[in-house]
């Protein structure tokens, strides 16, 4: 599936695929006019999943098995209780381990982690995380409620999972969700008062990714900069970018080389547009020691594209990147970001991209 990817947008689900002549074609939309907040193709069984967020009628989840039509499946729901909460958006969806066929992990606003063992036919709230006392410190970021947007299942140990929460830090389980612990120190939330800035429970990781070949290495594009861990979150250290802003939402890491990561910078928290009105991708090839700007084929000055946290992706071989923006522009790079080709300027606002 390295030569095709999904594009979840405000107005439906599109597919991009490379034609025989090497050019990229865009097909769709499926779920015409419906906002698609997350999409997943499960390589274990070929199942495809699309999460919709219908403004009036709530979040809904659909599945397509190979050769079959899309069917609506159970939407994760919080247990009914007095004063209980309700899922408002599905924000993360990841497969379990290679030998856990049918297991899925799903993150929601407001901050629920759900598990399915039957390809989404049924969902169960991971109560251990929901009931954790430190969850009281979670807060809304870009949305009114906190939300789980990143779920990293270790390929070498699928019972070990790291979860990114805006705003609530990075959380780890080593026993399939039976117990949870916060990441260690190192991230800094400069929007908080004094000593609270170092509290791991109040950090705002915008996006958390792990290197599949070396899952001890985690990268975070944080509200207040870029952080990296080489010990699976026991500790974090700040990365100095230098050549551009360290504010943004998206980050991807090379699937085999944990030293390589790409980001889509914006000016700052207060000014969420590209630096100097010119869209660039920043890249490090040595673990954040140095960065280069990759801008060939990207627009500017006069570009006001913002790249959401799930809208920059890399394929499983590390050869191709795709990036979509709030302005409905879509770019592909076949040379690790050195140059980009715009394959559409007319899509709806892009929420997520997924190979």
């Amino acid at each position: 599936m390295d030569d095709q990817f999904y594009i979840g947008t405000r107005k439906g689900l599109f597919r991009a695929r490379r034609a025989n002549d090497g050019k990229w074609l865009i097909e769709g939309p499926e779920f015409r006019s419906s906002p698609v907040t997350m999409v997943l193709r499960d390589s274990r069984d070929g199942a495809e999943y699309a999460a919709l967020n219908l403004g009036h009628f709530g979040p809904h989840l659909w599945r397509k098995m190979p050769g079959a039509a899309w069917e609506e499946i159970e939407t994760p729901a919080f247990p009914r209780e007095a004063g209980g909460t309700a899922v408002s958006m599905i924000w993360a969806l990841e497969p379990g381990g290679p030998d856990q066929e049918g297991r899925l992990w799903l993150g929601t606003l407001p901050g629920g982690l759900f598990r399915s063992d039957d390809r989404g036919a049924h969902w169960m709230l991971v109560q251990t995380l929901w009931d954790h006392p430190e969850r009281a410190k979670w807060a809304g970021g870009g949305y009114d409620d906190p939300g789980i947007h990143s779920i990293c299942v270790r390929p070498d140990d699928p019972e070990a999972i790291a979860v990114g929460v805006s705003v609530g830090g990075v959380w780890h389980t080593r026993d399939g969700g039976a117990s949870w612990a916060l990441s260690g120190p190192g991230m800094v939330a400069s929007y908080m008062p004094g000593p609270m800035q170092n509290d791991p429970a109040v950090q705002d990781p915008h996006r958390l990714v792990q290197c599949p070949a070396n899952p001890d290495v985690l990268w975070v594009q944080h509200h207040c900069g870029i952080f990296r861990s080489t010990d699976w979150g026991e500790s974090w250290h700040r990365i100095q970018v230098g050549v551009t802003s360290d504010f943004g939402f998206a980050v991807v890491v090379h699937p085999r080389d944990p030293e390589q990561a790409w980001f889509a910078p914006a000016v700052s928290d207060e000014i969420r547009i590209p630096v100097d009105d010119a869209l660039v991708v920043s890249h490090t090839g040595n673990g954040g020691g140095q960065f280069r700007l990759l801008e060939t084929g990207l627009p500017g000055p006069g570009a006001y594209d913002l790249v959401y946290r799930h809208a920059l992706e890399i394929n499983s071989s590390g050869t191709c990147l795709a990036m979509g923006s709030t302005t409905g522009n879509l770019w592909v790079s076949d040379d690790a970001g050195e140059s980009w080709t715009c394959i559409s300027q007319h899509l709806p606002p892009i929420y997520c991209i997924r190979f």
Binding site: G55, H56, F57, G58, F78, R80, G84, T85, A86, V87
Partner: protein, 85 residues
């Protein structure tokens, strides 16, 4: 028999007009949901509450609670807020 009339936004889920038995909005809606169970998660949230941007009118009166009465001649309109883009 009271009649439910649903917004066109839900036409993939439920017919636009359905006559059902029931003495209150809630009882009549239960009868609809038995026939069209997918509809539940579109109208109600996890806690069984009417979704924030959905409105129900009984004839020309905005529903207060699901206990609001309906009569044999009532028309129950299920609408969505006119928002978004």
């Amino acid at each position: 028999m009271p009649r439910f009339i649903f917004t066109r936004h839900l036409s993939d889920i439920v017919p636009r007009s359905i006559p059902v038995e029931g003495e209150t909005v809630g009882k009549a809606l239960e009868a609809v949901l038995i026939r069209y169970p997918r509809l539940q998660s579109y109208l109600l949230d996890d806690q069984g509450q009417l979704r924030t941007h959905v409105r129900i009118f009984v004839d020309e009166t905005l529903m207060d609670t699901f206990d609001d009465p309906v009569t044999a001649s009532s028309e129950v309109y299920v609408l969505q807020a006119l928002s978004g883009g």
